[in-house]
């Protein structure tokens, strides 16, 4: 059963990745990265239960904090300046 849950999470991560590839703006990519972070946390938690050693939840805790800090960092370090422009190659599908 845990395998079903982790399969769903993997599918969701794959869809999030697709959004990160497609863009089209930087914000969409940050959003996708943020969602992948959440999903990775859940997957690590589920994996811990699946392998029968749920004490590894510390890792999931670190992931929550780190993905939050890095999301904030994108917005603060780059400011509004560098995110405003649409990446031109994302629209043309060049990637």
């Amino acid at each position: 059963m845990f395998i079903a849950i982790s399969a769903v999470i993997l599918v969701a991560i794959a869809i999030g990745l697709l959004r990160a590839f497609l863009g089209p703006t930087l914000y969409d990519r940050v959003l996708a990265a943020n969602m992948s972070g959440t999903l990775t946390v859940l997957m690590v938690a589920v994996l811990g239960f699946m392998t029968g050693r749920p004490e590894f939840l510390d890792i999931a805790l670190v992931y929550v904090l780190i993905s939050f800090v890095s999301t904030i960092a994108v917005l603060r370090v780059c400011g509004t300046g560098c995110g405003a422009s649409r990446d031109p190659e994302a629209d043309s599908g060049e990637g």
């Binding site: 059963m1 079903a4 869809i15 969409d28 969602m35 959440t38 859940l42 749920p54 939840l57 993905s67």
Partner: protein
């Protein structure tokens, strides 16, 4: 009693999985950035919350439950903050929302 908790935990886990999937489809299918924010919130709150609740029931009352609660607590604060900061940055970056053309006229 044990079977009830067991079944309940699986209901939570499956429900959470459904919410996660719905959120993921949303982030792919919604037309613009601002609508996609909503899809992510579904993942962050209901999806994550239900999966963690299901795991808590599986883990029983132990240190594991405390850690899961902590994860849930962190998530419930970090998710909306990150999304709010993102939305504000997007607004300041002059990202126009997609609006229905009929309503605009």
């Amino acid at each position: 009693m044990e079977t009830v908790i067991y079944i309940l935990s699986w209901i939570f886990l499956l429900g959470g999985a459904i919410f996660l999937l719905v959120g993921a489809i949303g982030i792919l299918r919604f037309p613009d950035f601002y609508t996609r924010l909503h899809a992510v919130s579904v993942c962050d709150t209901m999806g994550a919350g239900l999966v963690l609740a299901g795991l808590m029931l599986q883990g029983g009352f132990s240190l594991v439950t405390v850690k899961l609660l902590l994860i849930f607590y962190f998530m419930i604060f970090t998710g909306p903050t990150a999304v709010h900061a993102l939305a504000q940055a997007a607004l300041q970056g002059k990202l126009k929302p997609v609006v229905d053309e009929h309503e605009q006229q």
